[in-house]
């Protein structure tokens, strides 16, 4: 679990490529899923648009600003879901005993796991999120400093979601694949909750999102900074800068948990 070396990176690309070529054997399913995914953006954003349109801005957030929030989460989650999908599908992987094969090879477990289930069609999600983000930039007329804040938020989001995926994967070691539900709830539920600024939620939920699972650091705080509204929202100016640390802590926790889980791995029959 050392820092990825260039050689590891090259192997990652190769293994991911192999996995994608494998999927190309099932072209029809690939095409169908890509089309379905393309509609998700509509189903995600339509309620946000309707809400902001008919009920006025949400707590002072315009639709363009909400789209910025969406784009940030969408981009980091999309990147993580595409590149580290193996961890999301870890339960079945474990139950099938495929981890044995990974352990038999002289390479890092995380590296091999990450590529085990890569799905090329998820790239569409990344492109959509990027598009939404780009449009939000134009409408909000953001300067370079703001863009940097957004980039920081997206980077934090990548660490955060990677950490959540690892935590979920690690829990499978204790429950032998039975907590896949829990993991989906956290990731999909998390990214859904983040469609809206956390300030709209009730106090206790907002606290959970800020101090518990630090989802607020993924998009809310960096977006506040990008829009120059940190003080207006009642937060000290350094709060958004904590984003990479809060999110990094989640990743560290995930790696720790995964390592502990791996140590108690018992393999499966024959």
């Amino acid at each position: 679990m050392a820092a990825p070396l260039p050689d590891d990176l090259r192997l990652y690309v190769r293994l991911a490529g192999a996995r994608i070529r494998e999927q190309m054997n099932y072209r029809l399913s690939f095409a169908v899923h890509t089309v379905i995914d393309a509609f998700l953006i509509v189903s995600d954003l339509a309620p946000v648009y309707l809400l902001s349109r008919y009920f006025g801005a949400l707590e002072g957030w315009t639709f363009a600003e909400l789209a910025l929030l969406y784009g940030m989460v969408g981009l980091s989650w999309g990147l993580v879901e595409t590149t580290l999908r193996g961890f999301q599908k870890f339960g079945p992987f474990l139950v099938d005993g495929e981890l044995d094969r990974v352990l038999l090879r002289p390479r890092g477990v995380l590296l091999q796991m990450a590529t085990a289930q890569i799905e090329a069609r998820k790239v569409g999600r990344i492109l959509q999120a990027g598009l939404v983000l780009g449009i939000a930039f134009v409408f909000l007329d953001l300067g370079p400093a703001s863009v940097a804040w957004v980039a920081l938020g997206v980077a934090g989001g990548i660490l955060f979601f990677a950490g959540i995926l690892l935590l979920g994967a690690a829990s499978q070691f204790w429950t032998m694949g039975q907590t896949a539900e829990l993991q989906n709830m956290l990731t999909y539920g998390g990214s859904a909750a983040l469609l809206y600024p956390v300030s709209i939620y009730s106090t206790w939920f907002r606290r959970v999102l800020t101090y518990g699972i630090p989802l607020a650091f993924v998009n809310y705080f960096p977006a506040l900074a990008a829009l120059g509204r940190t003080a207006e929202a009642g937060w000290p100016p350094w709060i958004p800068a904590l984003s990479p640390f809060a999110c990094g802590a989640v990743l560290a926790l995930g790696m720790l948990a995964f390592r502990r889980g791996l140590r108690r791995y018992e393999s499966t029959g024959s």
């Binding site: 192997l11 070529r21 494998e22 044995d100 352990l103 204790w174 429950t175 039975q178 829990l182 024959s270």
Partner: protein, 328 residues
């Protein structure tokens, strides 16, 4: 050198609560049942040996191999392979071993075999020139060449096993661990695999540990046999010694092109009789199979025949009943 000292492995099987909330509960409180799969086994294997690792189903063969290959941590006892502790030194250890699990594939299911090989070359960081030479050699010996462009999922079991063996040796390991590689193979495929393994061991000095419950694998390939049962070591030595003591009995099944002979040589025991069929038990020490067959064909034309070894389960039962042979 492989050194196994007082190896023990307990599996803890979690008693699960069911359903989604049950799964959450499992995270908090877990109860376990313990299964002792390996119970105090010790042995040493020198470089270049070809050892048969034999035992009935559930004896603990796969578990031991998983510990030796670094997949599982022992519960107790110690395992070192060339001075390395397999699980602790996993990366260094796996660079130098080849592993084949009969029931599981190493290859990429939906890709042509050749792509799997290329990926393995990168996983093991084998230099290009060495890789080419090794691959060409293996493809020829295992007759894999014509299969290279076939997706793995379209291979027959025998074809796949040949491809798996080549895959496991592409990085030229000095040790080979095989878990029931001949299971389910037809006679021809079995023979190709056995001939290949014998040659690898003889010509390249590759150490081989072959887990099997088929004694004919051992007879053909292994000067030494380690026999385990219910997690414990029962016998470690040449198969011949065991044979001479109990396993000598063979079973002969003959189909005749007419009525089966009525009388039999004295030392032969009749198991089953049909109008044109006999199933006999005999000891090669008392009458050789050649003699017995000649005796029968003098009396009636033989249409077909098979000779069977006693299954490993019967030998184990015999050892329990009558004790081990004295050491040579």
């Amino acid at each position: 050198m492989i050194e196994v000292v007082a190896l023990r492995k307990d599996y803890r099987i979690a008693v699960h609560h069911r359903g989604f909330w049950g799964a959450l509960r499992n995270l908090v409180e877990t109860r376990y049942n313990v299964v002792r799969a390996v119970d105090g086994i010790s042995f040493t294997i020198e470089p270049g040996e070809f050892v048969g690792f034999v035992g009935p189903n559930g004896a603990g063969k796969s578990t031991t191999i998983k510990i030796l290959t670094g997949v599982l941590e022992p519960t107790d006892g110690s395992v070192t392979v060339n001075g390395l502790v397999p699980r602790r030194d996993r990366i260094e250890h796996t660079r130098d071993i080849g592993v084949v699990f009969g029931q599981r594939t190493q290859l990429w299911w939906d890709l042509p075999v050749t792509e799997s090989y290329d990926l393995l070359r990168h996983i093991y960081s084998v230099p290009e020139a060495e890789y080419r030479a090794q691959r060409e050699r293996l493809c020829e010996l295992l007759e894999v060449g014509p299969l290279l462009d076939t997706p793995v999922r379209k291979l027959s079991l025998g074809q796949r096993m040949r491809c798996e063996l080549a895959a496991a040796l592409l990085h030229a390991p000095t040790m080979l661990f095989l878990d029931e590689p001949t299971i389910g193979l037809d006679v021809v495929a079995k023979e190709t695999v056995r001939t290949f393994l014998a040659a690898e061991n003889r010509e390249r000095g590759t150490t081989v540990l072959l887990a099997t419950h088929d004694l004919s694998d051992v007879e053909r390939l292994c000067p030494r046999m380690i026999l385990i049962d219910r997690g414990a070591l029962v016998y470690d030595g040449p198969l011949e010694a065991i044979r001479r003591r109990f396993g000598a009995e063979r079973e002969l099944r003959v189909d005749f092109e007419g009525a089966a002979p009525a009388e039999l040589p004295d030392s032969v025991e009749e198991q089953e009789r049909g109008p044109e069929r006999l199933v006999l038990r005999f000891r090669p020490g008392e009458i050789s199979s050649a003699k017995l067959i000649a005796w029968l064909s003098d009396r009636q034309t033989i249409a077909d025949l098979e000779i069977h070894e006693p299954p490993i389960e019967r030998i184990v039962a015999e050892i329990y009943r009558r004790g081990l042979p004295p050491p040579e």
